[in-house]
Amino acid sequence: MKGWSREEMAQRVAADIPDGAYVNLGIGIPELVAQFVPRDREFIFQTENGLLGMGPSPPAGAEDPELINAGKKAVTAIPGAAYFHHADSFTMIRGGHIDVCVLGAMQISARGDLANWSTGEADAIPAVGGAMDLVAGVKRILVMTEHTTKTGEPKIVAECTYPLTGRGVVDRVYTNLAVLDVTEEGVAVRELAPGVSFEEVRAKTGAPLLPMAQESAR
């Protein structure tokens, strides 16, 4: 099959996270990353509602409504976990103590602006949660998303049209088609998914891409 599945995207993200990293995973697709921690590495997962050392979902019947993640789903705590209040949790996030955050996206601009919290429509109820804190404070921001919207519109664009979560915050983007870096010079394709051409990625991207050859020559 052409391109990466969501599981393969998650595996690709996990492969880029170094051993010993403190990691916050956004709600939705990014949660899959926890299933693909490489065998020789240890990641500590933080969830901003107050747990460092988040483990997998509990078996059915063992859920505890007072042990949940930021998506309000039942989770477990690993041996060595710690609970803390919200000001401590966001001290970790805003104070630069979390190494990696993996987030979903509605749009990413060529300069690394991220829009992932609101459509900006008049009748939408805006809800931001911790997204703006995460992009402002976590050392490395990875975005995991389908390359285009359900209607085929590019998600990587010259300028975001949705309200921003943060300006110039995205470091790397993992899509079903490619791995792309936000660089000073522009968006650079680092890796293509199996069966996907650079031309296809370019056609489905709303911002100029740096030529691949030039990038690999660096």
Binding site: H85, G129, D133, A136
Partner: protein, 236 residues
């Protein structure tokens, strides 16, 4: 002798006046002091400003307080979630005000309120609509936005155990906003599952020292919001 126990939730919230600002703990149902909220519904003060991360679910707890028309304004980070329809309906009709605050900024505003810090600068929300109209300033080459500390007349918090001095321990991720909200109100009211003897909580393990707590109500078997919602319950 110091004894912060109140006999009943009704007595603990009886002096909440119209127009009060109230912090309510909880992240979703975890840590939501549902019995104290229901007592506040019974007491009936109106025109309240409520500071809470979410807006409740179904038609019990915080959502029921909003549904009764007692809340004029919500200050929160995530006003919609699964099973939350009361707030979105009222907000679309323009019947309730919303001040949307990033979650970490909300926590820090409460922490600062409790610590006597009137304002602070943060990188969160810089360059977004949530920073519009706020003072900003550059420090070491980067832009920061000024945010104000938050205080309340009352905080309603759920903890796990207390002693009569008001020392508190919490349970798992139900801790969330509890400890900081206890510090930021003129009067802090806490519901706990269990009262213990003074000295039974190891001083090394006290999460909220008693100085931050004014009233304690024991609710040995608190109701669970998600169960009430599933059963279609409506309060009152």
């Amino acid at each position: 002798m110091i004894d912060k126990r109140c006999e009943a939730a009704a007595a603990a919230v009886a002096d909440v006046r119209d127009g009060a600002t109230i912090m309510i703990g909880g992240f979703g149902e975890a840590g939501s002091p549902i019995e104290l909220i229901h007592a506040l519904i019974d007491a009936g003060p109106r025109n309240l400003t409520v500071v809470s991360n979410n807006t409740g679910s179904g038609r019990v707890g915080l959502a029921a307080l909003i549904a009764r028309g007692q809340v004029r304004k919500m200050i929160c980070s995530y006003p919609r979630s699964a099973n939350s329809m009361v707030f979105p309906e009222l907000h679309r009709r323009g019947e309730i005000e919303l001040e949307l605050v990033p979650q970490g900024t909300l926590a820090e505003r409460i922490r600062c309120g409790g610590a006597g810090i009137p304002a602070f600068y943060t990188a969160t929300a810089v360059g977004t609509v949530l920073a519009e109209g706020k003072e900003s300033r550059r420090f070491e080459g980067s832009e920061y936005v000024m945010e104000r500390g938050l205080r309340a007349d009352f905080s309603l918090v759920k903890a796990d155990r207390a002693d009569r001095y008001g020392n508190l321990v919490y349970r798992r991720t139900a801790r969330n906003f509890g400890p900081i909200m206890c510090t930021a109100a003129e009067t802090t009211i806490v519901q706990v599952r269990e009262m213990t003897e003074v000295g039974a909580i190891d001083p090394e393990c006290v999460v909220t020292p008693g100085v931050f707590v004014d009233r304690i109500v024991v609710v040995p078997e608190p109701q669970q919001e998600s169960v009430l919602v599933k059963e279609g319950r409506v309060y009152p």
